[in-house]
Every structure is written in C-alpha cells, then in structure tokens.
C-alpha cells in the first residue's frame, strides 16, 4: 500500500490546491501564458484543477512583438484546443499610444517595457489575480517571493513587507486596484518542469529541441538573427545546431548549442548542466546584481 506521493505528484497536488483557492476567493483571475515551458505546465495544472469543467478564467499573453514565431503559433493552437479565451496585451500598442518609449540601438530590448503593458492590461480588465509560471529556483529574488505575492495599486512588490504565508493558508485579500500574483510552480525546479512535461506527454514549441539556426555571438551568448536585433559591426552570423532553454524575446533570449532532439535528450542535458537557465540564456538578468529584484518591485512578472 502506497502512502507516499512522488515528488511530482506532491508538487502537482500543491499547485492544484492553489488554483482552486484563487478561483474560490478572487473575483477575476487570469493566467499568464507565454507559450514557454513553465506556462505550458501551468495551463495543464489549471486544466486538471477544474476538470471535467473548463477552468474559470481567461489566459493572457503579454506580446512584445519580438517573440519567436514558433511560440506564437504554438500559443494560438493550444488556446484553441482548450477553448479558452485569450487576451493579448500588446507592447507595440503601448508604444504606439505613447505609454512607453522604444529603446534604440543594437542592445535595445522590449523586456522592460512589458511591465507597463502588463499593468495596463491588469487595470483595464480589472484582474485581481494573475497566475504566473515563475519558479523560486530561477533567481535569488524569486527565491524570496511568496506563492501569493501582493501588489499594490501601482503593481509594486515590496519584498520587505510580504504577508506571512503559513501552511497552505493563502491570504489573497485585495482592495480595488490591487492584485495578487500567484505562482503555483514556486517549488518546482527546471528539472521538475521537464519531467512533468515528459510524464504528461505535453506538447511544447519546437524551438526547445535542437535545430539549425542562424545565430551570432554576443557577450558570450548566442542570439538568433532577426528583424528585432541590430548587429554590431564585428558580429558575424553563422549557422549552428541550437535549442532554447527558456523562451523570451528574440532580442534577449540566448540559445544553447545542443543536439538534444527528444525530450529524453533534453532532460539528460538539463540534469547534467552546470549553469542556471537564466544565467545561460537571459541577458535581462545581467544588468546589475539586483536586476530581477528591481524589475519585480516595478511590477514585472
């Protein structure tokens, strides 16, 4: 007789509980879905938490306009399969309406602009809870964040005044204009996410597997050539077999050299790696010591 649950089932069970808590206690939740591996798992858990009924909230994508086309295609297909309502919050529209100003130059990125677009969309739709796929193992500021993370009416996170969070009793109380970010995958690691994808047989965008792509090297990372990035004079594009470990903007997400063509290969590669996923692939975290903490304070994911 089995009394224990495997660690994946324990994590799954914790996440399902969180989904149900939010659905029961908050008025207008939304699930942030980027088409990346973490939000793919998030979506599956939402599905399970309310099966056989459909989960009772829409999904939202903050579209920078600089996404990988394969990922957008995947996003649309998945949302259609689920019959869910998709809200697209567009950074391009924020730029066009003058809410934010586009960065320029070879290192321009829309990463930081997303925060404004996200907060505007939350206000516009009156969302009071946003499910996100952030994990505590990603980054040390995230390691400090609660599962229910309170945001004031400016969308700000105050790391020094977090609500105590005990047992599985979550306090999601908000006033009008405030909201909570909810992270059901808080205790998952990158490897857990991959194992779950494998175990559940979840579809993922093809860029997570090794493929030939034209890339260029910058600051020790490989970036895809695209309309969204200006090359510096000395940068010479070349073809390589790469895959992506994380999915963000084409302008700031690095590829890794890889021949991993199957899920087994990918999991084996992740299990053996000696570098964190954000360290290996994200330029946006490299700005300063506290780049993530600073962005989170402003309302970033």
């Amino acid at each position: 007789m089995a009394y224990e649950l495997s660690h994946l089932r324990t994590l799954e069970s914790e996440a399902i509980h969180i989904f149900r808590e939010v659905a029961a206690e908050l008025e207008r939740p939304v699930l942030l879905f980027s088409g990346g591996k973490d939000s793919i798992v998030l979506l599956r858990l939402a599905e399970k938490a309310f099966w056989p009924a459909r989960f009772p909230f829409p999904v939202m994508h903050v579209d920078t306009g600089h996404n990988f086309p394969e990922v957008i295609e995947f996003r649309d297909r998945r949302v259609e399969e689920l019959g869910a309502r998709l809200v697209v919050a567009s950074v391009q529209e924020s730029i066009d309406s003058g809410r934010v100003r586009e960065e320029t130059g070879p290192r321009a990125s829309r990463n930081r602009l997303q925060t404004t677009t996200l907060l505007d969309a939350i206000a516009e739709h009156g969302f009071d809870a946003c499910f996100g796929g952030a994990r505590r193992d990603e980054e040390r500021a995230r390691a400090k964040e609660r599962i229910f993370s309170f945001r004031d009416d400016f969308g700000q996170w105050d790391p020094k005044a977090q609500r105590p969070e005990l047992w599985n009793l979550y306090n999601g109380r908000v006033r009008k204009g405030e909201h909570v970010r909810v992270f059901p995958l808080s205790n998952w690691t990158e490897l857990d996410v991959w194992q779950y994808i494998a175990e559940e047989g979840l579809a993922i965008p093809p860029i997570y597997f090794a493929h030939e792509r034209e890339v260029f090297a910058r600051d020790g990372m490989l970036y895809a050539t695209s309309d969204f990035v200006e090359l510096l004079p000395e940068e010479e594009p070349f073809a390589a077999s790469v895959r992506y470990r994380t999915v963000g903007d084409m302008s700031c997400t690095g590829a890794v050299r890889s021949d991993a063509a199957t899920l087994e290969d990918v999991v084996a590669e992740i299990a053996a790696t000696r570098i964190t996923e954000r360290g290996e692939t994200r330029a946006d975290d490299r700005v300063t010591e506290a780049a993530m903490e600073d962005r989170k304070r402003e309302g970033y994911f």
């Binding site: 007789m1 089995a2 009394y3 224990e4 649950l5 495997s6 660690h7 994946l8 089932r9 324990t10 994590l11 069970s13 399902i16 149900r20 808590e21 659905a23 029961a24 599956r44 599905e47 399970k48 938490a49 309310f50 099966w51 056989p52 009924a53 399969e81 689920l82 019959g83 505590r136 040390r140 500021a141 400090k144 790391p159 609500r163 105590p164 005990l166 047992w167 599985n168 009793l169 306090n171 109380r173 908000v174 808080s186 205790n187 690691t189 857990d192 194992q195 494998a198 175990e199 559940e200 047989g201 979840l202 999991v267 570098i275 964190t276 360290g279 290996e280 010591e289 506290a290 903490e293």
Partner: protein, 434 residues
C-alpha cells in the same frame, strides 16, 4: 480535446518515484547556516557555476578574504547590504532518493514571523549550534519554535567541530545540555550530529576526523528519515474539494468545508456523489483507494476524471469511518503575532481556517510565552510583534477544527486584519470548548 493525464510515455520512471522532504534551517550570521546550505548544494551539484562566480565576484568587490556563501541565499538587496537574513528563501536540491526543499529562515528574534512562515510546512528542522559557544538562547528559541509548529523531526547539528579539535567531550556536553532542556518540549524525534560545514565533515560522508561518532552523516539522515507516517492519514479531511458534473458542462463548484458529508466521518466539500479530492488529500485518498478489493487510485481530480471514471467517484469515496473534526465556535490556541500593531483582548479579526473564513474575537489572552525561557506571563493582556501566547477565541461561525497536534492542516489558522488585509497572526488549535 485530449483529456489530461491520458498520456504519460513512461519516461524517467526512476526519477518519478522520488519522495519530497521539506526542511527548515534557522540561524544568523556566524553560525554557519549559509556555509551548510552552500555546502549541501555544492556537494549535491546544485550549485551552478554562474551562481558561484557571481558570489565570488561580489565577495571580491567587497574585499572579503573568503567566498561568502550567504550571498547565495540572501537574495534581497537589503539582506546583502546588512549581511543578515531577513526573509525566508527557498532552495532546492535532489539526490536519487529524495527531492529536498530548504526553507532558509532568519534567526534574529525580530524576524520570528518569517521563520515561522518557512517552518510551517517543514518535515524536519535543523538547529545549528556553534561547538565553541554551546547551547545559546537562539538555539533554544529555534528548537522551541520547531516544536511549537510540530515539525516532526529535529536535527541538532553541532557545527564548527574543527575549531574544537573534533573533541568528543565538547560534543557530548552540548548534546546533554540540549537534551535536558529539550525535555520541556514536545519534540518526538531529536537527532544529534557533529559537523563541520566548512570542511564538509559528516555532511555527505561520515568523517574520518570523528571516528567516535557512530551515527549517519547529515545528508544520509535527510535521505532516510521516515516521513511517510508523519501526516495524519487516519482521519478523513477534505477541506477544498471540487464538485462538478462528470460531463464537464456544469461550471466547477468550490464548496467550502461543511459538516460531515453523507459518508460517515468524511469532512468533505461537495455533496456525496460529486466530491473529489485536492491538495493534501491525495495521499489519504491513495491510502483508501489502493486497498485490496477497492481498486483504482485517485491521485488528483484531473487524473481521475481523465480516465473517464468520474461517475464512479462517489462509490470510490466511500471511506471507512474516522473521527470527525470537532465543531466549535470557542477554542484555545497558541498564536504567533506578526504585525507591529499589538493584539489586545476584545480585538476582532478575520480568521481563515482551511477553506473557510469567519470572524474571530479575542476573548482572553491566557498568557504570553517568553520564547527564550518558556516563562508564562499571565498578566500580559496582549501580544506584540513576534510574541507568542495562548488565546481564547470565539468565532462568528462554527469551524471544523482538529487539535493542531493531531492534524497540521485542520489545526492551523491565520488571522487577518480586515482594515489592512495583512496576515497578522498564525494560530495552532489546542483544544475546543463546546
């Protein structure tokens, strides 16, 4: 639409069976907590090169002569500036046997509330003692809080053994000191281990420097300590179940904890036939549903439904009778106070217990407990930030309570200030009266 859980291609079966252990470490500067965690991560290859490089770079910039591993877990700017842990950080590592979640919590008394947050879900707690200093106020406080929160297993790690020449007598004296004091606590399982976090003695492997120590290494203990029986799987409790029609056409209902359901002894949400199980219930459901003759299993509602067995759910949920939870509007509880605004007799708060929220009034502060000396002050009349005391509470609606010692999930509650919406208190039910 493909039903969830229908797939599963048999990949990675070995990893899938890994059990999860959550443990809490408490401590502050100089007691070796960060070194211990850094070392465990390093030795289990969970410390990544870019993380280590970042820490080395920062240490060098500050002019430190050593690599400060605290920088790994002290993730906030304020923590790095002040050199202290303020809030709990979570870290993860795994061995082939188990996945571990470390709640790295602050040791300072002014951050007790954050320590309690991190410790509330732990299966095991590690109290670090500096071999040169012996049992100090802070070690006693940590051990007391661990026992108050009913963390089932306590490890007393006597650290910095290298600085006392790996002397058995020093270790024995500390273990004796601690044991005699701990007899006042309701701690059931205490393990002592002499270690040197800096040099790795008795962390992963048994140390050749301490041949007199016959026990397991710290990691071996973490991998093998028996946790499967810690949860109460005897009493049926289903605080947040989802009801819904099997055909999926009806919207999910999220009933709250109600009185005993149709099945004897089941404190379930949902009405008889449509109850399914959620977080915290799965292990329990396994226990009953995997019984010979009952067949099937019910890990989570999605999986189960996916296999097209939703309509059989009711039949499968006919659980054996168990002691129902008590129903009470008045009860006593130990409460840890977590806000600057003091608690006073007569004050009202929102109380959240399992999935139910009601209002509670503090009828009486029976006593305030000094967490360092365990002295009870019956004249206190209130609690300030980080203080712990025994209260008598009365609620606006009956709650289905268990004693916290019998069931952490149905014996714990939080108090919320309805003015600020902050979580201001954490409570553990002691007993009920009517």
């Amino acid at each position: 639409m493909a039903p969830p859980g229908a797939a599963g291609n048999g990949l990675l079966t070995s990893e899938r069976q890994t059990e999860m252990l959550r443990f809490a470490t408490a401590g502050s500067v100089d007691d070796g907590k960060s070194t211990l965690i850094g070392r465990l991560l390093y030795d289990t290859k969970e410390l990544f090169e870019d993380q280590l490089e970042a820490v080395e770079r920062t240490s060098a910039q500050r002019g430190d002569s050593y690599v400060d591993l605290a920088l790994l877990t002290d993730g906030l700017r304020a923590e790095r500036e002040q050199g202290i842990t303020i809030d709990v950080a979570y870290r993860y590592f795994a061995t082939p046997r188990r996945k571990f979640v470390i709640a790295d919590t602050p040791g300072h008394i002014q951050y007790t509330r954050n320590m309690v947050t991190g410790a509330s879900t732990a299966d095991l707690s590690i109290v670090l003692i500096d071999a040169r200093k012996g049992v100090v106020e802070q070690s006693r406080r940590h051990a007391f809080l661990s026992s108050l929160l009913r963390i089932p297993h306590l490890v007393v790690a006597v650290n910095k053994m290298d600085l006392v020449d790996y002397d058995e007598a020093v270790y024995e004296r500390i273990a004796e000191d601690f044991s005699s004091w701990a007899s006042k606590l309701e701690a059931t399982d205490i393990t002592f281990t002499p270690i040197s976090a800096l040099h790795g003695d008795n962390l992963v492997e048994r140390s050749a420097n301490m041949p007199w120590y016959q026990g397991p290494s710290l990691l071996y203990h973490l991998e093998h300590v028996h946790i499967a029986s810690d949860r109460n799987l005897i009493d049926n409790r289903f605080p947040r179940a989802v009801g819904g029609a099997p055909d999926g056409r009806r919207a999910p209902r999220l009933p709250r904890l109600r009185g005993p359901g149709r099945e004897r002894g089941v404190q379930a949400g949902g009405r008889g036939g449509r109850a399914a199980v959620g977080e915290g219930d799965a292990g329990q459901a396994h226990r009953h549903l995997r019984r010979p003759g009952r067949g099937g299993l019910l890990p989570a509602v999605g999986d189960h439904a996916a296999r097209g067995r939703c309509r059989h759910l009711a039949r499968r949920l006919h659980l054996p009778p168990s002691q129902p939870a008590g129903e009470a509007r008045e009860f006593e509880a130990m409460v840890c106070w977590m806000t600057d605004h003091p608690l006073r007799e007569g004050a009202r708060y929102a109380i959240k217990h399992t999935s139910r929220t009601a209002r509670a009034v503090v009828d009486e502060v029976r006593y305030r407990l000094d967490v360092n000396t365990l002295h009870r002050d019956e004249e206190a009349g209130g609690l300030d930030l980080n203080e712990i005391g025994r209260l008598r509470l009365r609620t606006s609606a009956p709650l289905h309570l268990d004693e916290y010692r019998r069931n952490r999930a149905t014996g714990g509650f939080i108090l919320i200030d309805e003015g600020t919406n902050d979580t201001v208190g954490a409570g553990m039910v002691l007993g009920t009266e009517g």
